[in-house]
Symmetry: C2
Subunit: 333 residues, 2 copies
């Protein structure tokens, strides 16, 4: 294992401490239990928004905490759910008296721990609602989930739902729009290589030199099929077709086109996917009115990418365009 | 070669077209000759700022064109200088009647081609000045340069110099502050693995499974030495010591600490370098008052990173903090 680390078991602590010093204008980092919250704490009277999940999906952790996005986040160990006490602490930190929404990616461990934390928070008098993000159209049920997995679209959902809380939506309306965002999008991805979790010390799966896996999960869970490497346009066809079919997109609709890099895939390759996906949607009469390209939800240094398409209306476009200030959401997005 | 591409010779065209569609609110892409300029064209009465260099150092190309940074950019082929006619076209596109500054990274081919383009622009009545960025403290002269190489610090120089043009600095003062920025910083990096240029089809150099190269150039040019992989803190010590010595940093000074990822190195590892570099500078009595961490200047999917330290005064801090809106500079920086 060749990595810029000290001891494998110190990676997350050192990463999070470094992150919190570099971005102390945006976040505060707490270690007992581990969570991040916005610098300055909860905004009184605003609905709080939190999320959480396994580390390794960078820049999650502290990267999306800040104005216009998350109020707090609970990062678990690598590819492991945060514990209920972490989620409870994030909930408390996000509570400005108007309730807190849990934005949960659909993995069985996460679902259970967020539910426990929600019960604990309710017992303390914090009103909690929950929305489960399950944007991955590749597989129904998987080794890690009942139903579809939550993947890159969750980041866009965090950004847009955070915007709703900033615009003064109450808890019921925030919850409703977050569900609408989830229902409006679909994602499918592929991997060219595995990543190595420092505490595991070896690649999470094996792929032959000429092989890729379509529909793979962000932890290396099995996808739809392994195939020989194909031209990027052919791969893009498979992914876009699957999402368009799932969303039942029709001529004349407006969409967000989001290409997410899994870590080691250069931006040039991500924009090559974008380029052909745009042409395909254009040929279908679908208008790409908003775009997002980059490493928004990685699996460490995995090579690969996913394509997310989200149906947009005026409300969702406004939420996408709203101001945001976090370490991880790009200015130019 | 396992990449998300179609034909190797089409990679740059498809990348740049995709980029220009995704970010059409920020940039315009011209193909004859290839260059990017700000959407809407030059700002009348403002000094123009351009840069350019070989492709593969992402998100360079169009990624730093926009308000508060570059007015235009001329991307060459992978790891190759742009041609004089590309640079001339970028100069013309950036010309708002107040002169144009060429921000040039110190590589022999780039220097020659920017000089030729400057002469051509002057012949057309555009006043041009030039600043050569040579922040890499690792080696004096190299296979690609006379003198020191220009590396990641060039991106910070583009951002800060662009801010100066926005604040109304004239050409002489813009040129002077860009030189001051260059004189105020030093960078040193390392690589854990090579990258593969699509048109070459094979890795640019070989490194053993347990080997890293300190002081390596961003095209794989030889560095200071190859050593066995070390703990991240020991690597950070080597890099920070070299830059601190070069800058003759003293107790009580304020600095920017910038960790740049070369492509495949996860953010968690970059923040581990940041974490220890911050502690080292703190122990020296040097105050890290500004921070920048991420893939600002990659070598495609190379694994590795560099550390840049810049001495800050009030003027430079103001330029770093000024508004910026490009696809590549992060909101949270």
């Amino acid at each position: 294992m060749k990595k810029l680390i000290n001891h494998p078991e110190d990676v997350l602590n050192e990463f999070m401490r470094g992150f919190s010093i570099a971005h102390k204008d945006l976040v505060e980092y707490k270690t007992d239990p581990v969570h991040f919250h916005r610098a300055g704490g909860a905004v009184q009277g605003k609905v709080g928004l939190i999320s959480g999940g396994g580390s390794g999906h960078e820049p999650l952790g502290g990267g999306y905490v800040g104005r216009g996005m998350l109020d707090a986040a609970a990062p678990g160990a690598f590819f492991s759910s945060p514990t209920p006490d972490q989620i409870l602490a994030a909930t408390q930190a996000a509570d400005g008296g108007a309730g807190v929404l849990h934005l949960v990616l659909n993995y069985t461990g996460d679902i259970l721990n967020f539910e426990m934390a929600a019960e604990m928070a309710e017992a303390e008098g914090i009103e909690v609602t929950s929305v489960v993000i399950d944007d991955d159209v590749a597989v129904e049920d998987s080794t890690w989930t009942a139903g579809r997995r939550g993947v890159a679209g969750a980041i866009t959902a965090m950004k847009m739902t955070g915007a709703a809380t900033d615009l003064g939506y109450d808890l019921a309306r925030t919850t409703e729009v977050c569900k609408k965002i989830n229902d409006s999008m679909g994602t499918m991805g592929l991997a060219l290589s595995a990543c190595t979790v420092p505490t595991a010390g070896k690649p999470s799966f094996d792929l032959a030199d000429d092989e890729i896996e379509l529909g793979i999960g962000v932890h290396g869970e099995p996808g739809v099929k392994r195939v020989k490497i194909m031209p990027a346009d052919d791969i893009t066809d498979v992914l876009v077709d699957a999402v368009v079919k799932d969303l039942k997109l029709e001529r004349g609709e407006d969409v967000l086109l989001f290409i997410n890099g899994l870590g080691a895939t250069p931006l040039s390759e991500q924009y090559i996917l974008y380029n052909h996906a745009w042409d395909k949607l254009d040929a279908l009469g679908v208008n790409v009115t908003r775009s997002q390209v980059g490493n928004y939800f990685t699996s460490l240094e995995m090579a690969g990418a996913s394509i997310t398409i989200m149906r947009l209306d005026e409300e969702l476009t406004t939420l996408f365009d709203a101001p945001v200030h976090t370490a991880g959401w790009r200015a130019g997005a």
